[in-house]
């Protein structure tokens, strides 16, 4: 069971990680893309951090929707619509809730994934951040069935995301800027997938010290 405070921790960690890794994410995108991924995320999530206190926290859904509006409206490039859609879809699943269960979290992630797929016309295996998001969701689901602790679940998700991000290296990009380079996209990991892994690792490593009610 997680609550608003945990959700805030997750969103804040996403935002802070995006800001902190501007250069790294940009360099990853520069290998076969146009190098703006880090810049775009950082400029948008910077605003999320700046407006942090002003977001309506009536319930988890409202909170995530407000964040989504900032992301969609203020992040440029492909990432604004993609990440904004993910937050919006997660918000829709959490409608009216102030607490979310593990199953809720999985449902929110699944909804985010189908939202991204629809928005970007992408499938698994196209070498996008979806290729990290789906495996990490699978890992959470498996841990829930196994009945492990929240802390262990988060760690497992981070490990799955990292492995999945690395597994994008041999893939050929079929979506986004990288896809224009064709076969040359083989040999380097997808910037979006790596970003997901880095974010999950940040969440996992700070999970136990996140503060607020558990």
């Amino acid at each position: 069971m997680t609550n608003m405070s945990d959700v805030e921790f997750v969103v804040r960690t996403i935002a802070q990680t995006a800001v902190d890794n501007e250069k790294y994410f940009g360099d990853l995108d520069a290998v076969v893309g146009d190098g703006d991924f880090g810049y775009s995320l950082a400029r948008g999530f910077e605003i999320v951090l700046k407006d942090w206190d002003s977001y309506d926290r009536t319930d988890i859904s409202t909170f995530l929707s407000k964040v989504a509006i900032t992301i969609t409206g203020r992040i440029g490039g492909t990432s604004g619509p993609i990440w904004g859609t993910a937050f919006l879809r997660a918000a829709a699943v959490a409608k009216g809730k102030t607490d979310i269960t593990g199953d809720d979290a999985v449902a929110m992630l699944r909804s985010a994934i189908t939202g991204i797929m629809a928005r970007g016309n992408a499938e698994l295996g196209d070498k996008t951040l979806l290729d990290a998001l789906a495996p990490l969701t699978d890992a959470i689901e498996a841990e829930l069935i196994a009945g492990t602790t929240t802390s262990e679940i988060v760690s497992a998700a981070a490990e799955a995301a990292r492995a999945a991000a690395e597994a994008t290296t041999p893939m050929i990009a079929r979506r986004g800027r990288a896809s224009y380079t064709g076969e040359r996209s083989i040999g380097s990991p997808d910037a979006g997938a790596v970003a997901v892994a880095v974010i999950l690792e940040a969440i996992a490593s700070n999970w136990d010290s996140r503060g607020g009610p558990r």
Partner: protein
């Protein structure tokens, strides 16, 4: 990085402010949404034409705002599609009772931002249509199903729809013309060097002293393949053959030929390229009726060029000939 730049995050706003200061009578800069619009827009006697895209392609698109061309340009940051909000606000700002046409180079990020903004604007009752430009023949493999990119050929679409809207055509007619010109336009480009986005501060990719990238888009990404540098005429042939073969352009055709510099190549070299392209086309029985040599759609400081052909008919030629007044001026 050696550039004329202060804070890289202020690269685009400062450029836009400079542009507006240099054109106080004709251009207005709206900092909240990072946009440049005509001082006389919106005009209810014409369809408003908006081009949105990333920055770094100057003079496209902010310097193509003016009489006979764009009513507004809505650029994102360097090489990034504008955030959806900016597109939406731009659309509202130039909303004319004759409608708004959004021109978008066919890149994923741009498509999504404009699709979303169009939906929201339609919900607000704005009469808006979106035209995706996709002239780049470097992207033709059907495996890459995101479709062709829009590159320097967008100039011709802008010029034609700008002229038509200035003449009072309605939104459907302007859209028809834009689609027609897009369907008759083919482009391919190559890079001699990588470019350096100000926020990154170093070149986007490494290229050897004797290497070039063939089939690049306009966002500084690597192209379809790497090759060794070759004589100028062969560089031209490398682009001309795929472009001619694609539509295809045939003996007897009249065309517009554009040699577009990517930002770091001097105009002297562009004319060397023009010379060979013109002669090769003549040999194929294709007449260059209109020529364009210079910078139209760049990738920051990238050295290299793209070659565009447009198949002309009387309608297109008339629209290209129509007068226009834009910020990319000489005097």
């Amino acid at each position: 990085m050696k550039k004329i730049v202060n804070d890289p995050q202020r690269f685009v706003p400062e450029m836009l402010e400079g542009l507006a200061l240099a054109n106080p009578d004709s251009l207005r800069y709206v900092p909240e949404y990072n946009l440049i619009m005509r001082t006389d827009a919106p005009r209810d006697d014409k369809v408003s034409i908006v081009q949105g895209s990333g920055s770094g392609h100057e003079p496209a698109h902010v310097m193509a705002v003016g009489k006979g061309m764009l009513d507004a340009a809505c650029p994102g940051d360097v090489f990034s599609a504008p955030p959806m909000d900016y597109v939406y606000e731009t659309t509202k700002l130039v909303n004319s009772s004759k409608g708004v046409l959004l021109l978008v180079n066919n890149y994923t990020g741009d498509r999504m931002a404009f699709d979303m903004a169009q939906e929201m604007s339609l919900a607000d009752g704005v009469n808006v249509k979106t035209l995706f430009i996709d002239d780049d023949v470097a992207v033709q493999d059907s495996t890459w199903t995101v479709g062709r990119r829009g590159v320097a050929g967008n100039f011709f679409v802008i010029k034609a729809v700008g002229a038509a809207s200035e003449a009072g055509a309605d939104l459907d007619e302007v859209m028809r013309i834009g689609e027609k010109v897009n369907s008759m336009t083919r482009t391919m480009g190559l890079a001699l060097t990588a470019c350096t986005p100000p926020a990154k501060g170093s070149p986007l990719f490494e290229l050897g002293d004797d290497e070039i990238e063939i089939g690049v888009g306009i966002h500084g990404e690597p192209g379809r393949r790497r090759a060794k540098i070759m004589p100028g005429d062969e560089l031209v042939d490398t682009l001309l053959e795929p472009v001619v073969g694609d539509l295809p352009f045939e003996s007897g055709d009249r065309v517009a030929l554009m040699i577009n510099g990517l930002g770091g190549t001097p105009i002297s070299e562009l004319y060397i390229a023009y010379r060979h392209a013109h002669k090769q086309l003549a040999e194929k029985g294709i007449t260059v009726a209109k020529s364009y040599v210079g910078e139209y759609c760049t990738s920051l400081d990238m050295a290299g060029f793209s070659l565009t052909l447009v198949k002309l008919d009387d309608e297109i030629e008339g629209l290209l000939d129509a007068p226009a007044e834009i910020g990319m001026r000489i005097f």
